[in-house]
């Protein structure tokens, strides 16, 4: 790995973590009046995927989309303003945290119906193929999606038409508080994709180097018309399903499990390896922290100074 790539991967993960932490901290002020689903602990998947894509590539996501949006290059001011329900938000205040979009960087949209954007991403890849473009589409989906019929329909359609789409499954084992083994039989998720004739790989979602390399390989294939691809990464959600807090007191998972999840922190893991390999220095990390803090502070200032949309504004755009 080149120092430049290592720097970028680390920076992307660290930036997502710090932004999510800032949101968690400010959320208790009750000025962000929308549900938030933080991705703390799952940053390596977003960052690894984002780093392997071009701006012209397209991305769709779900309710837990902040990391995906940021990793694709989504505008931070527009994201924070959206969470505060402001006019300059990426949806003008209509969507909140669960509706991220930044078309300028190919972030096509995120919505909170489980599985809802999966066929849209397939359609995006279908359009690219019909238009003879070389861009690829990435869709992020969680383990819960494999209980939704539309996801199986989407895998079937993508495989049938050999579409340039990469399905990235972030398997964090939970649907809210319910474990996968209470929702699904004992079988692997990536083998479902394989059964549709889709090429698959899987691995530890805390290993950003692995994520990046697998995505890179898949994207290369997709650009040559050898799609689709499906990658499954194991992940761990540190905080509550929805909201800013830890929820250890609910005891739906053991202290040992939570501690184990945090101990596998993708940022600490990569930092340790990168420092040992002298890919970047501690001084550079300190500079990253300072730069990120400045950027975050500016974004919150921007968002809070922005005007609030009115009911009159809400009447627009029912029809194109």
């Amino acid at each position: 790995m080149t120092p430049n790539l290592a720097y970028n991967l680390y920076y992307s993960m660290l930036r997502i973590r710090r932004i999510e932490e800032a949101l968690a901290k400010r959320y208790t002020e009750q000025e962000m009046r929308c549900p938030i689903h933080l991705c703390i602990g799952q940053e390596a998947i977003a960052a690894g995927v984002g780093a392997a894509l071009l701006v012209s590539d397209k991305m769709y996501s779900n309710h837990r989309a902040h990391g995906h949006y940021l990793a694709k290059g989504g505008n931070l001011n527009a994201m924070i303003a959206e969470l505060y329900g402001r006019a300059s938000g990426c949806c003008g205040g209509r969507g909140g945290s669960m509706h991220m979009i930044d078309l300028g960087v190919g972030f096509m949209g995120a919505t909170p119906i489980v599985g809802g954007t999966v066929p849209l991403a397939v359609g995006s890849a279908w359009a690219s193929k019909l238009q003879k473009k070389t861009d690829v589409t990435v869709i992020f989906l969680g383990d819960g999606c494999f209980e939704e019929g539309v996801v199986h329909e989407s895998l079937n359609f993508a495989a049938l038409h050999h579409l340039p789409i990469l399905f990235v499954c972030e398997n964090n084992d939970f649907s809210v508080y319910t474990r996968r083994n209470e929702r699904q039989p004992d079988r692997s998720i990536h083998q479902i994709a394989a059964a549709h004739g889709i090429k698959t790989a899987h691995g530890d979602g805390n290993d950003i180097e692995l994520v990046f390399n697998l995505v890179n390989k898949a994207v290369e294939d997709l650009r040559m018309g050898k799609g689709p691809w499906f990658l499954e990464f194991m992940a761990y959600r540190w905080r509550e399903h929805c909201g800013p807090d830890f929820d250890d007191h609910l005891e739906y998972r053991t202290v040992e499990e939570i501690e184990g999840g945090k101990a596998a922190c993708p940022i600490e893991r990569f930092e340790k390896n990168a420092l040992a390999a002298a890919l970047f220095s501690k001084a550079e990390i300190e500079k990253m922290e300072r730069d990120i803090k400045t950027e975050i502070d500016q974004s919150f200032t921007f968002a809070l100074a922005d005007c609030k949309p009115t009911l009159e504004d809400a009447r627009a755009y029912v029809y194109a």
Binding site: T111, G116, L120, S124, A320
Partner: protein
């Protein structure tokens, strides 16, 4: 009663739709067509016949039996620059796609602040007759009309079917295009060249002064039979309005008519309760209550699913007779007259009730 020159070419509703698809595909290479059976030998009642041969397998597709997934794929393709036309041989099948239609297609433009749009047409065919039964003959226009962001149209004539299909494909919104299967064989004057008919305006089929009858889809045809007989036999002048569009609902044209006639019947192909007929009457009451001489009447299907056996369907659907009776009631006319008997004979169709009426081939 066509507003067009009777000398213009006459083709059927289904051929008009095929021509609209053909001309739209020729004009705009972003237009693609997909549906279960689109390229098969029956070609969706011939409405897609020859399209795959002409435009190729990269523009005309059969589809997996995945109504929700493929609707989502069409939405994604539409967002990404294509203009898909998706087809359901029965509207009942489209119920499997409600999540994608209501949560995504209808709201994508709105929830992302107008940043992207979904130019998508979804044809849904309403079945009737020959024992189509509970799951092959529903009229669900009111269901789709509930959803802001969807446009819902149900053209009645071949002329409007072609023009509204062309408009729907050019429109930047999701358009639900409802076709009553029994309208498919009916002919009308249809220009060969490509033309548009607006998606938000009712059409006055014939002007009249005694009573307004506003109709949706196939009920326009039934009402026309009633209106002609009411005029010729009993001298009753009907203003017949083909609504053509369900969302937006052009209630203003009906309000203007009711201000003239003071009486209103709304004839719909759907169940009565919660029907678009009910909504239309509500809007007329809000807009022209003082003009109404008598309470309006809905002529709809009964509030239970369509049965299959001919002995149960024979009196299930409202007929020209149902509409004529409603008109006479609003006008306070006596039914114990010779002219009433003559009227009933004139508008009672001959032959089996569960196949399309071959006596009327069009034009309107």
């Amino acid at each position: 009663m066509s507003t067009l020159n009777a000398n213009t070419r006459q083709i059927s509703y289904v051929d008009a739709i095929r021509e609209a698809l053909d001309q739209s595909m020729a004009q705009d290479e972003r237009v693609i067509v997909i549906g279960e059976g689109v390229p098969d030998p029956k070609a969706i009642f011939n409405s897609t016949l020859g399209l795959q041969e002409k435009y190729g397998k990269n523009r005309v597709f059969d589809m997996p039996l995945s109504e929700n997934g493929v609707t989502g794929a069409c939405i994604g393709a539409a967002i990404s620059g294509m203009r898909p036309v998706m087809i359901h041989q029965r509207i009942d099948f489209a119920l499997l796609s409600l999540d994608q239609l209501i949560n995504n297609a209808a709201k994508w433009h709105y929830m992302f602040n107008g940043k992207s749009s979904v130019p998508l047409v979804i044809r849904m065919i309403i079945g009737r007759g020959w024992g189509q039964g509970p799951q092959h003959s529903q009229s669900l226009q009111a269901l789709f009309s509930l959803v802001p962001g969807l446009k819902v149209v149900m053209p009645t004539t071949a002329h409007d079917a072609k023009g509204m299909m062309v408009s729907a494909i050019k429109d930047n919104n999701p358009v639900i295009f409802l076709e009553h299967r029994w309208l498919h064989p009916i002919i009308d004057s249809v220009p060969e060249s490509m033309y548009e008919v607006q998606l938000d305006k009712a059409k006055i089929i014939c002007e009249g002064s005694d009573i307004t009858i506003a109709t949706f889809s196939y009920m326009t045809f039934e009402a026309l039979i009633a209106a002609r007989a009411l005029l010729s036999i009993m001298g009753i002048s009907v203003e017949l309005i083909d609504m053509r569009s369900v969302r937006p609902l052009d209630s203003q044209t009906v309000i203007d008519s009711v201000k003239k006639t003071g009486r209103l019947i709304v004839a719909d192909t759907a169940y009565k309760t919660g029907s678009i007929a009910a909504e239309l009457i509500s809007q007329v009451l809000e807009g022209a209550f003082e003009s109404l001489k008598v309470a309006p009447i809905r002529v709809c299907s009964p509030d239970f699913p369509t049965p299959t056996a001919p002995s149960m369907t024979e009196e299930y659907y409202p007929t020209p007779g149902t509409i004529a009776d409603a008109a006479l009631k609003l006008l306070g006319k006596d039914s114990a007259t010779n002219s009433y008997q003559e009227l009933k004979i004139a508008i009672t169709r001959k032959g089996m009730h569960d196949i399309p009426n071959r006596e009327f081939k069009g034009p309107f």
